[in-house]
């Protein structure tokens, strides 16, 4: 049940970010300076924490989504759904820690800027 709640919540969060992300990227069609100014907001350490949360949400939705597909299409799927869930959690934690280490280091050290 909680993975289902998590899937819905992360899905909605990702969808709203996607709308904003298409709008900010659309600035490349309007004015290079305006695009660079908006993108520089994404490079601020506070935003980096938000990006970390967003990528954690994306990764949960991705791995749990793949689990749903296995549960739906594998003959043994429903029987092993609990093991699959814990596999998802382990892979998710590893991926999130890996991404966080890289992204937050870049954000807080200024990445050469």
């Amino acid at each position: 049940m909680w993975s289902w709640v998590g899937h819905r919540v992360t899905g909605v969060v990702i969808f709203f970010f996607l709308l904003v992300h298409v709008l900010d990227t659309a600035l490349v069609r309007v004015d290079p300076g305006a695009y660079d100014a908006v993108i520089s907001a994404y490079k601020n350490p506070l935003m980096a924490i938000g990006e970390f949360g967003l990528v954690a949400a994306i990764m949960f939705h991705a791995f749990n989504g793949l689990r749903l597909i296995l549960v739906d299409f594998l003959k043994q799927g429903p029987k092993i759904q609990r093991q699959l869930f814990w596999t998802v959690m382990v892979v998710w934690v590893v991926a999130v820690v890996g991404f966080g280490a890289r992204h937050l280091t870049l954000a807080f050290t200024g990445g050469g800027h």
Binding site: M1, W2, V5, R8, G11, V12, I14, F15, L18, L19, V22, L23, T25, A26, V28, R29, D31, P32, Y35, D36, I39, Y42, K43, A48, E51, V55, I58, A62, G65, L66, L68, I69, D72, F73, F99, R102, H103, L106, A107, G110, G111, G112, H113
Partner: protein, 154 residues
């Protein structure tokens, strides 16, 4: 973790108010299948997007107009981003449609929420598509000075 969240629409709606009519097509089944197929493709597209934009080189610090111009100089990334835009928007719109159907119980509320959703989604997909197809790297002076396509060195 003792809290229990009932499945949406479970028990609370008297069967005589069940809004499911006999469907004449298999739209919901196709939508269900689309979520799974697009989901697998999106995992590849979005992970590739995150790796190339946030993990390699200077990560997020490398992103600016020139970075986008460099990526979209390649048809691979144009197609990648176009596919990602369409699949992610359709996948997300269908997901939110499901959530609206589950939680908005009044017919009028459901109708208006979904109308807003479809208008916003159509606008976003068309805007993004237009941006990818009509992108012009030469509007940036820095890019224009260094790219032959913009007449640099001519």
């Amino acid at each position: 973790m003792t809290a229990q969240i009932d499945a949406p629409r479970a028990k609370r709606i008297d069967p005589k108010y069940n809004r499911a009519r006999k469907s004449r097509n298999n739209f919901e089944m196709m939508a269900w299948l689309f979520m799974r197929l697009s989901g697998v493709v999106l995992v590849v597209l979005i992970f590739g997007h995150l790796i190339s934009n946030l993990l390699v080189g200077q990560g997020v610090h490398a992103i600016d107009f020139g970075f986008v111009a460099g990526k979209w100089a390649s048809p691979l990334w144009q197609i990648w981003d176009l596919a990602m835009l369409w699949l992610a928007m359709l996948h997300g719109t269908n997901g939110v449609r499901t959530i609206i159907n589950d939680y908005a119980e009044k017919d009028r509320t459901r109708f208006w929420l979904k109308t807003v959703l479809y208008v916003v989604a159509a606008f976003t997909v068309l805007l993004g598509t237009m941006v990818i197809f009509t992108f012009d790297p030469c509007i940036s002076e820095t890019v224009a000075k260094s790219v032959a396509q913009c007449g640099a060195g001519a």
